[in-house]
Structure formats: C-alpha cells, structure tokens
C-alpha cells in the first residue's frame, strides 16, 4: 500500500527541485530519474510510485529524449501544464548552457592533468550511479517468496533479461524491444494482487 501523499507544491517549489536535481546529477537520464524518484516519491511524497512508474513508462515511448519527456509528465501530474513547462525548462536550460561551455572548453582541458584526473573519478562514480538507478527502478517490481512473488520475479527475469539479450547479443534497436516488452506485459498479467 502506498503511504499517504502530501499536497502538491507550488510551481516555483517544484521548479526548484527540478533545477537542483537536473543540474547537479551526472550520468544521463536514468540516473536523474532515480534521483527524482528519491526526492519526489520517497522524501516529499508529492506523487506515488504508481504514477511515477506510469510517467516513466509513457516517457519511454514518447519521441525525443526520455528524461525531458519524463520531466514534462511528472511536472504535469503534480502541477499541470505550468508544472510541465517549469520542470522542463529548469532541468534543461542551465545544463544546456553548461554543455555548450564544456564543448567550448573541452579541447583545452584534454591537456590538463588535474582536470582529467577529476573527470576520471567522476566517470567511475557515474558507472556506480547507473547500477544504483537500475536497482531503484527494479526494486518495486521484485516479488517475495510467495507463489505470486515468484511469478513476478520470473516476469522480471524474462522481460528485463530478454530485453538485455535482444539489445546486447542481437543488437536490436530500443523501439521493437520496448514494444515486445509492452506486449508481453499486456498478454501476461502482473501477478501482484491489487
């Protein structure tokens, strides 16, 4: 059962959260989504885990960059269209400006031993963050040791494992893999009791 939710914040407060997390989280979209989940679902309880998962799933099939669509979806669910616009701009505008600055300065940094040592440390941390994010996303979908829990675990292994094999071994593109996963879920109902 979901814990009780807190009332929605103002657009300004929501925008502040997206600004802080979006512009201080390194490692790409999934890591940022994991951080937003910790903040919005677990810490502040502005949205429940089911709606968060729904936003994640729909953002995955929205054209473009998943993370930006995800922010628009979460912003819209919490504060309406104004929340969506605020979330997207707060997350992308400052980091875009920074990316342009990095593009400008990157060739100069390549000769700088201090900068490269610091970047090397952050690259390793980002790899650890990616695996933490996988666990954060997967955790609510792992069942227990009951019969239904075992069935749910089997679904996790077969769908997530199948997607991994299809991408890693057979080199399929994400879209057919996602469609196959969605179809499998549709045909093989979740064993979780409502």
């Amino acid at each position: 059962m979901n814990p009780p939710q807190n009332p929605p914040p103002s657009v300004k407060k929501l925008t502040e959260i997206f600004f802080r997390i979006g512009n201080t989280t390194f490692g790409g979209g999934y890591v940022t989504i994991g951080m937003l989940g910790r903040e919005l679902v677990d810490a502040r309880r502005w949205i429940n885990a089911e709606k968060f998962d729904l936003a994640f799933a729909i953002a995955r099939v929205t054209p473009g960059t998943n993370l930006i669509a995800f922010c628009a979806a979460i912003g819209a669910l919490i504060c309406g269209v104004a929340g969506a616009i605020g979330a997207v701009l707060a997350l992308t505008a400052p980091s875009s400006a920074l990316a342009v600055l990095i593009a400008y300065g990157f060739e100069r940094w390549q000769g700088n031993r201090i900068a490269m040592a610091a970047i090397g440390g952050t690259v390793a941390a980002v790899a650890g963050m990616m695996w933490a994010t996988i666990w954060i996303i997967l955790k609510p979908h792992v069942g227990g040791t009951t019969w239904n829990g075992m069935i749910r675990n089997l679904q996790v292994v077969l769908i997530a494992g199948g997607a991994f094999v299809a991408s890693w071994i057979f080199g399929l593109t994400p879209l057919p893999i996602i469609l196959a996963g969605t179809l499998t879920g549709f045909l093989w109902k979740d064993a979780k009791k409502p």
Partner: protein
C-alpha cells in the same frame, strides 16, 4: 545556415528517436555526410560535451547546433531538443485515464522491465569504459552504496569522486 532549417533538421532527428543518443545516426547523416557542416571529430566532441555535464545525454544536440550556428544555433538546438517532450502530456491523459485497468497496468510494467533490460545493456559498456583499476572499482561500489542506502545528494557524490580522482593522481 538558416536557423529554421537547423531547427527542422534537429527536430527531425529528435522526433524520430526514443533515447538521448538515439538521434545520433540521423544527425551524422544530415550534418556530416550530406551537408558537410561538421566533421566526425566535431560531432564526437559535441557528444562528449553532452555526456560530461549534468542532464540528459540528448544535450549533445545543443552542442551540435552550437558548432553549426553559434549561440543563436544553440538556442534553436535547445528548442528542437525540448519540443517533442510535450507530446507526453496528451499521451499521459489518454493512457493515464486507463492506467487502473489491470491489463494496461501490466503492459506498463512490461514496458518498464524492458527499459531496465535496455538500461543494463547500455550500462555494461559504460562500466567497462570507466574501469581503470582497483581504485575505479572502489569508487563505483561506493557510489552505488551511497545512492542505494543513504539520502546523500548526488552532487556531493560527484564532488567527492572528483576529489578522490584528484587525490589518487597525486599518489601515482
């Protein structure tokens, strides 16, 4: 280059992909192969810049636009990057209204699990790339543990990792 054409080219690449770097083949085809507006090296640097800072990997589109059209180009690239995201709002309304139907919920779960599989597949090469020895493994495990078991902000984690990388280089 005409900014409207730049916007439309980047929008085409963005709207026909479903992940941050998914648009890369189309961008390369349009900007490097067809129009010779960028070299492969410039495109590579744009991708690295997009991955180095915070935010989504798709930010490399802004860097591509900057390389082609300067600051006005970067602004246009930014617009092309965020435009498709708002398609999610009507999609949410349509699917969200049906989210309590068990089969729809199961389909969403299937989609989520498939996404996790894809994420694992893209995390493996990143992890291999980040592996430089025992020290990098310690940093990876520490960052996994900090994010999973504590509430420490990831910005502090990144700062600590950068400091650790710097300290390690002094002892080499």
């Amino acid at each position: 280059m005409n900014l409207l054409v730049l916007y439309l080219l980047l929008l085409k690449a963005s709207v026909t992909s479903f992940s941050g770097l998914g648009s890369l083949p189309m961008v390369r085809d349009d900007f490097v192969v067809e129009r010779h507006l960028l070299t492969d090296h410039q495109l590579n640097m744009a991708v690295v810049a997009g991955r180095t800072g915070p935010g989504p990997f798709g930010l490399y589109l802004v860097c591509v636009a900057y390389e082609v059209g300067g600051i006005p180009g970067a602004c246009v690239g930014f617009l092309a990057l965020i435009t498709p995201a708002f398609l999610v709002i009507p999609l949410m309304r349509w699917i969200g209204a049906r989210a309590d139907i068990p089969r729809v919920r199961s389909a969403i779960r299937g989609l989520l699990l498939a996404s996790v599989g894809l994420l694992v597949s893209s995390s493996v090469p990143l992890t291999q790339d980040a592996f430089t020895g025992v020290f990098s493994v310690i940093l990876m495990v520490a960052s996994f543990a900090v994010l999973t078991f504590t509430r420490i902000d990831s910005a502090w984690l990144m700062l600590g990792a950068a400091g650790a990388g710097l300290a390690a280089s002094l002892f080499r």
